[in-house]
Symmetry: D2
Subunit: 93 residues, 4 copies
C-alpha cells in the first residue's frame, strides 16, 4: 500500500528529529536569539525535510510506480502523472 | 538585539504550527499513509518554513542591517556579509 | 531512445526563449541596469528553466521509466535509481 | 547607480557562459540526447544562474542598500523592502 515500508523506521527517526529542530527553533525565538542563528537552523531543518521527501520519493518510484508500470494501462498513467505532480510541488516548494 | 521583535508572536505562532505539521507527518508515516499524501504535506511544511525564514530575513534587514549600515564602518560590512551568507544558505537549502 | 519525443518542439521553443532571456540579462548588465531589475529577470529565467526540467522529467517518467519498469529486472532498478538521482539534483539546484 | 560595478566583468563572463550552457541544452535536445543527460545540464545551468543572482544580491546589499540605509528615511525603507521582495522571488523561483 505504501512504498516506504523498508525505510519506515528511518523516515520516522528523521521526522522526529526535524520535529525537534522546529521545536528548538521556537525556543530560540522565545529566547530572542539572534536572527541569523535562527535562519541558519531554519535552513538546516529545510534541508532535512527535503532529504526525507527525496527518500520517500525514491521509495515511491521503486515500489508503487514500478508496480503500476508493470501492470500498465490507465493505472500506470495515473501513478506516473501523480508522481510527476508531487515532484513539481517539491521542486517549487 | 534581534530584528523580529514586532513579529515575535507571529513567528512563534507559525513555528508552532509547523511543528504540528511535522508531528502530523510522523503520524501519517506511522499509519502507513500513502507516499504521495505524505509528500504533499512535506511540500506544505517546507513552504511554511521558507515563509517564516523570509519574514525573519525581512525583519533582520529592516532592523539589524539598517542600524549597522547607519553606523557604518567594519560592523556594517560584517552585518551585510553575514546577511548575504544567510540568504545564500536559504536559496540553496 | 528519449522520452521527450512528442514535446521536442515545445522543449526547443522554450530553451530558445530562455537563451534569449539570458542574453537579455547580459545586455542589461552591459548597460548598467538596476540590480533589482536584473535579479527579477534572473528569477524569471530560473523558473522557466525549472519548468522545462519538469516537462522533460514528466516525459521521461511516462516513457523511459515506464518502459523499463514494464521490462522489469535490473534495467528497471537502474532507470528508477537514475531518475531519482536526477530529481534530487533538480530539487537541490 | 548599480551595485555590481566592481563585479561587472565577472557577472558578464558568467552570464555569457550560462547563455552557452542553454544553447548547448537546445543542441542536446535537437540531437535527441538522453533525457537524464539533458536534465543534469539543466540543473548545472540552474545552479550557475542562482550563483550569479547571489553575487548580484551581495553587491546590491553592500552598495545600494548600505547607502540607502546610511541616508535613512523613507528611501532606506523602500530599498530594504525592495531587496526583501527580490530575495523572496529568488528563494521561491
Amino acid at each position: 500500500m505504501h512504498g516506504y515500508g523498508e525505510d519506515k523506521a528511518k523516515v520516522l527517526t528523521r521526522l522526529h528529529r526535524i520535529e525537534g529542530q522546529v521545536r528548538a527553533l521556537a525556543a530560540m525565538v522565545e529566547e530572542d536569539r539572534y536572527c541569523i542563528d535562527v535562519l541558519t537552523q531554519i535552513s538546516a531543518a529545510d534541508s532535512a525535510l527535503k532529504s526525507v521527501a527525496l527518500l520517500l520519493l525514491d521509495d515511491h518510484l521503486h515500489h508503487c510506480v514500478r508496480q503500476a508500470a508493470e501492470e500498465g494501462g490507465p493505472v500506470a498513467d495515473e501513478k506516473l502523472t501523480e508522481a510527476s505532480a508531487a515532484i513539481a510541488r517539491l521542486v517549487k516548494s
